[in-house]
């Protein structure tokens, strides 16, 4: 029996496991890096052990440190969560050797399924359909396009699509290099790439005795750069026969290796032909496990613990309180900027509130819910610091409803109404997807997000939002006056000009809001000002009143309304020349490490010429000259750590070009990967 469980992980998955532990009466132990010390999972654990440092290698990936933490806290079991050490057979063995309970599959299963090449052979032998394995020598034009994948990888890491045979050797080399650097294993393999394929996976729980419980399938086709974004269960537009065939194939896969614990068998499904192929098996809990939990009414973490404690399939099956039903959709809310090539974002999450949440980290009690319910699994909370050291995922939001469209509507509504202030998020994109007719019709595929561009449903820096921001700022100034406090705002006996507040939109464009104060309060052109407080402004246009909620954190002004969210930045009235950034300065787009400096001070550069390369979250960002000119300043050298916004170099020009730009070279980032992907496939 497990009494004290250590979760060798962080963020929402640690909280998720803790939640079940609390329900079962198991004590909890957290381990955390220095960067994570303020996150909720550390606080929620009964005991927390610091892993000194910030990088994953120094902390969550250091098996010895984790085991030492278990020893010091007297933990008798370790749950690895997903990512990090979850699919590390050596770690699993070390846990077992230390006499602790390993809440996961047998190390042998991890090894068998860890190699994509080996696992495919194994599955083929078990009668599970697999995609043909190709090499540069065997691949033909007819096989195009091809996919190069890292054997040891997961998610998008080391994955490259090849559309011309001539490119194949180079792409293999690159993928191998990436895999080598990311996993320490450069093995890659090549398989045909199904262009409009769907990613359908089956949840299994085995008892290690050869019995496997199948808990339906999930569709995880909606991906961007091979990273899952929207997941659901059951899979839409899937015939009962195909679903059944998938389930049976997964069962066979699990049985073949006498799988123990929760696992997921992933398939590539071609809706054109109705065929499917085994891709890989993930020997751990998946990020998207909640959709299965909501549809089947089961707690998968509880099942994992029960299996670890020796439960058999009949016992597990009894945990499923009821027959599966309804539809669940999960979205992954990321701190990333879809408009800037999904660049991960960092900073303080000044507001984090999803309206209408029914449960957190728990199975919905559908009986008491009425028609739809919302679940939130968040690793962060308002006030949390989001770093770029790890996964950029802020939270998973999951809706359950009797039908798929109801669930999608519920989820879209909750996301649209959420207060997410701080780093940019992919929220608007998620809302667009959930309201997209093709999505609602079930026409999903892995290229869904590549094939389509979505208009941002957010209103962007509209006049109304900017006006609301400016008036709330003015009202804040008014309310914080220390003298003449009762005098009307911006009162003038001789009027010479309107008051002006300048705001910068996320895209860098600036606009000035002009307003008048005086006897009758605030007045602006274009809108009737109905009400103004420091955090809410109601404007009327064309007889329609809209209320804008305005939150201010430093210079950042977040405006939320039924028309969406926009984060504006207040342009200060004055800038101390000593603080001004020289024109032509190259600023670090995010915290990171300088990898290379391509030019020397004094060199002449053309516009767009790479000046230096910055690595952040294992992605390389090329910082290019914003314009032609002379490099007058190089402030960094390879190996230097830079903070976001730090001046790294200055390119001077005779002209008065103001904008400095940092661009990412897509060729260096495509197929590159972020830490989140190491934690989850």
């Amino acid at each position: 029996m497990i009494n004290r469980l250590l979760v060798a992980n962080r963020g929402e998955i640690a909280r998720r496991v803790f939640a079940t532990c609390r329900r079962l009466g198991i004590e909890t132990v957290a381990v955390h890096s220095d960067a994570d010390v303020g996150l909720p999972f550390v606080r929620e654990a009964d005991a927390a052990v610091r892993l000194p440092g910030t990088s994953p290698t120094e902390t969550y990936l250091d098996a010895a440190l984790v085991l030492e933490a278990a020893r010091r806290t007297g933990a008798d079991a370790i749950h690895p969560g997903y990512g990090f050490l979850s699919e590390n057979a050596a770690f699993a063995r070390a846990v077992l050797d230390a006499g602790l309970t390993w809440v996961g599959p047998a190390p042998e299963s991890i090894e068998q399924m860890g190699s994509k090449v080996e696992s495919k052979k194994l599955m083929e032998a078990a009668g599970v359909p697999v995609l043909g394995n190709l090499t540069p020598d065997t691949a033909t034009e007819a096989d195009l396009p091809l996919l190069v994948k890292a054997s040891a990888g997961g998610g998008g890491r080391g994955m490259r699509v090849v559309r011309a045979l001539a490119d194949l050797p180079d792409e293999i080399d690159r993928a191998a290099a990436e895999a080598e650097s990311a996993f320490g294993d450069g093995t890659v393999f090549v398989e045909p790439y199904v262009e409009r394929g769907r990613h359908v996976e089956v949840q299994v729980v085995g008892d290690g005795e050869g019995q496997v419980l199948v808990l339906g399938e999930r569709d995880c086709s909606l991906q961007r750069r091979h990273q899952k974004v929207v997941e659901e269960s059951p899979a839409p537009e899937l015939s009962a026969e195909t679903a059944h065939a998938l389930h049976e194939a997964a069962r066979k896969a699990g049985e073949a290796i006498r799988y123990r614990g929760a696992g997921t068998v992933e398939f590539l499904y071609d809706p054109q032909t109705g065929r499917f192929w085994f891709l890989e098996m993930n020997t751990r809990l998946q990020v998207e496990h909640p959709v299965t939990e909501l549809v089947h009414g089961v707690d998968l973490v509880e099942m994992q613990i029960q299996v670890a404690e020796g439960a058999g399939v009949p016992e597990l099956a009894s945990l499923a309180a009821r027959a599966p039903g309804g539809h669940a959709i999960e979205v992954r809310l990321y701190a990333e900027d879809p408009a800037r090539d999904w660049q991960p974002q960092s900073g303080t999450l000044t507001a984090f509130d999803v309206p209408g949440v029914s449960v957190e980290f728990a199975v919905l009690d559908r009986a008491g819910l009425g028609r739809a319910g919302l679940r939130l699994d968040a690793g962060f909370e308002a006030g949390s610091e989001v770093s770029t050291h790890y996964d950029a995922m802020l939270a998973k939001v999951i809706a359950w409803a009797p039908t798929r469209t109801q669930a999608a509507r519920r989820l879209a509504g909750a996301l649209a109404g959420a207060r997410l202030h701080g780093p940019a998020t992919n929220r608007d994109l998620l809302v667009s997807v959930l309201r997209d007719p093709a999505f609602l019709a079930g026409r999903v595929s892995t290229s869904f997000l590549v094939d389509r561009t979505f208009d941002q449903p957010g209103e962007g820096p509209s006049r109304a939002a900017a006006t609301a921001a400016a008036l709330a700022l003015a009202e804040r100034s008014r309310a914080s006056r220390t003298v003449q406090r009762g005098i009307p705002v911006a009162w003038r006996n001789v009027l010479s000009q309107p008051q002006r507040i300048e705001l910068e939109a996320p895209d860098g464009s600036r606009s000035t809001v002009e307003w008048l104060g005086g006897r009758d309060g605030y007045a602006v052109d274009d809108f009737v000002v109905v009400a103004v407080t420091a955090d809410s402004v109601t404007l009327e246009a064309d007889g329609v009143r809209t209320t804008y909620d305005v939150a201010v954190a430093g210079d950042a002004v977040d405006v939320d309304s039924p028309r969406g969210h926009v984060r504006l930045t207040r342009v200060p009235r004055f800038t101390d020349p000593a603080d001004a950034v020289a024109s032509g300065s190259l600023l670090a787009p995010m915290p990171g490490t300088v990898v290379t400096v391509a030019v020397e001070a004094g060199a002449h550069v053309e516009a767009g010429q790479p000046v230096l390369v910055l690595e952040a979250m294992k992605m390389q960002h090329t910082v290019s000259a914003p314009h032609a000119g002379v490099v007058t300043e190089i402030d960094v050298k390879p190996g230097d750590q830079v903070a976001a916004g730090e001046v790294m170099a200055v390119v001077s020009t005779g002209s008065t070009t103001e904008d400095s730009s940092t661009t990412r070279d897509s060729s260096t980032t495509e197929g590159g990967s972020t830490t989140d992907e190491s934690e989850e496939a």
Binding site: E475, I487, R492, N493, V494, S496, R573
Partner: protein
């Protein structure tokens, strides 16, 4: 809409048009040229200097009205809040003849200095002036010396002075930064020297240039006259704000008031209530209240109800009238404005009789006894004349009231709502009696007597003189004379004219009166005051 309202709105529209002339400064061409040089207009500079969302009470905006000079007299003065500190701000308007000072400019700056001195305000001067308007130098040069004297006296009185130099500040003008406690000069714009290159060449033969004689860089690095070198105008204003932020300013009036008032039952120990209600009646109603014909009296209680704090938990009654049954032609009583206690004297029936004069005298003494500022609301045709009243001692009683007003040491505020004629203007604390602030409504009229009366008096005197000489009186000439006198006195008793003469601190929209008084009462707290117990000998 009432006739009264229509008439008042017309007058307010005229007022706005006159203010617009002041704002327009030197006109479109000069404003454009100024902007093209990347420079800001005086009011643009002020808007950047003062705190966001704070009020700016511009003073004497109509200075020079009716003269040959541009309305506003090429300078902007007013009280603004900088980093939470109420400051007297002056700003030359370089779009008007290069910001040159004319006689009205000087008078306007004198008035600003007087207000700063009386109320203990720091001063921020936004300097860019080509010096004196030479054709009128005789009216400027000798009295103008006071400008510099006032700067250093202000400094000595612990009212810091800040000069931000945006452009020319040469010859005598150089002493504005020269006399100031803090100076900021804008790079490549400020020019501060006693004599420019041509004058130096003539005087000593030395070849020189503007920059080496008086550039901002030179003054910041070599002469030391500039304490701060600003990159540009915005930067200069930023620095100016930082200077004020570091003045360690506290409103000294509050220190003494706190001691004096802590025993009062209403209001907090700082002397005024933190929370208060807006007036019980809407200020908009003031537009209906003032009759187009000032012969028609109006009830000042209706005005008071629209100016003073309404009933609230800390203010049991909006206006506690004193001696309501005695001397009913003058209303006296206590109230609060923006939480601050005030005693109010308001004319009710125009004429002041002996009773009213005695009531006013007592009331002014009472206010001094408890250190409460006074507000005078003018609508008076003066002290009563006639046998009965002369014999009843109206002169003695009027003199008592003027004695009390003159020697009272609590701050006085005056608003001329309607008529302000004759010695009534004096007794009600007219300009000569130095109220801290005096504002005028567009409906006001002020003169020694009404135009018709004045013309009539002249006519009677002339007729008597003709009769004395045994000559027939020329009735036709008399009618012409009367019409002319009436018209010119009428014109000279109107608010724009009086404001142009600096006889008030500005003409205001009646609806803004509460706001203006609220600002004034806050400004007053920058200097300690207490009521007197020493008046002149009251003739009994």
């Amino acid at each position: 809409m009432s006739d009264n309202r229509t008439a008042m709105l017309d007058k307010l529209a005229e007022l706005e048009a006159e203010h617009a002339k002041a704002v327009a400064g030197g006109g479109e061409k000069y404003v454009e040229r100024h902007h093209a040089r990347g420079k800001l207009l005086p009011r643009e500079r002020i808007e950047l200097l003062i705190d966001e969302g704070s009020a700016f009470l511009e003073l004497s905006p109509l200075a020079g009205w009716g003269s040959d000079f541009t309305v506003g007299a090429s300078v902007v003065t007013g009280i603004g809040v900088v980093e939470g500190v109420e400051c007297m701000i002056t700003a030359n308007d370089p779009s008007v003849k290069g910001g040159a000072s004319n006689p009205w400019t000087v008078k306007k700056i004198f008035r600003a200095s007087q207000i700063a001195e009386e109320n203990g305000l720091p001063t921020v001067a936004l300097v860019e002036s080509g010096g004196a308007d030479l054709p009128t130098q005789k009216e400027i040069f000798i009295p103008g010396g006071k400008l510099f004297r006032d700067i250093t006296r202000s400094s000595a009185a612990k009212q810091p002075t800040v000069a931000i130099v945006f452009g020319n500040s040469t010859a005598g003008g150089a002493y504005v930064p020269g006399m100031s406690d803090y100076t900021v000069m804008v790079k490549e714009q400020a020019k501060v020297f006693l004599g420019g290159p041509p004058l130096v060449k003539m005087a000593t033969g030395e070849e020189s240039d503007d920059e080496s004689l008086g550039g901002a860089e030179m003054h910041a690095r070599i002469s030391g006259l500039a304490d701060y070198l600003a990159e540009d105008e915005h930067d200069a204003l930023r620095i100016g704000r930082r200077i004020v932020a570091r003045l360690n300013w506290r409103k000294r009036g509050l220190d003494t008031l706190a001691g004096a008032r802590c025993s009062t039952s209403e209001g907090d120990p700082s002397g005024h209530a933190e929370t208060y209600a807006e007036p019980d009646a809407d200020s908009d109603g003031l537009l209906d209240l003032i009759p187009t014909d000032l012969k028609e009296p109006f009830d000042p209680r209706e005005v008071i109800a629209r100016l003073v704090d309404g009933v609230s938990p800390t203010n049991g009654r909006a206006f506690d009238e004193f001696k309501p049954l005695y001397g009913p032609s003058l209303v006296t009583g206590w109230a609060r404005i923006h939480g601050r206690p005030i005693g109010i004297l308001a004319n009710a029936q125009g004429v002041l009789f002996s009773e009213e004069a005695q009531k006013a005298t007592q009331f002014i003494q009472l206010a001094n006894q408890v250190d409460v500022p006074l507000l005078f609301l003018h609508n008076t045709t003066g002290y009563m004349v006639g046998k009965e009243y002369e014999q009843g001692g109206i002169i003695k009683h009027g003199a008592m009231m003027i004695n009390a007003v003159s020697n009272s040491t609590v701050p006085h505020l005056s608003v001329i709502m309607g008529a302000s004629y004759g010695a009534g203007n004096y007794g009600m604390n007219g300009r000569a009696y130095d109220p801290r602030f005096l504002f005028t409504w567009p409906s006001a009229k002020s003169a020694v007597m009404g135009p018709a009366q004045l013309a009539g008096v002249l006519s009677i005197v002339a007729r008597a003189a003709a009769e004395g000489r045994g000559k027939a009186y020329d009735e036709e000439a008399d009618a012409g004379m009367r019409a002319f006198i009436e018209a010119s006195v009428e014109e000279q008793s109107l608010p724009f004219f009086l404001s142009g003469m600096l006889y008030d601190d500005g003409v205001i929209d009646p609806r803004d009166t509460r706001t203006v008084l609220g600002i004034c009462l806050s400004v007053i707290e920058n200097k300690a005051y207490s009521g007197t117990d020493r008046f002149g000998v009251f003739r009994m």
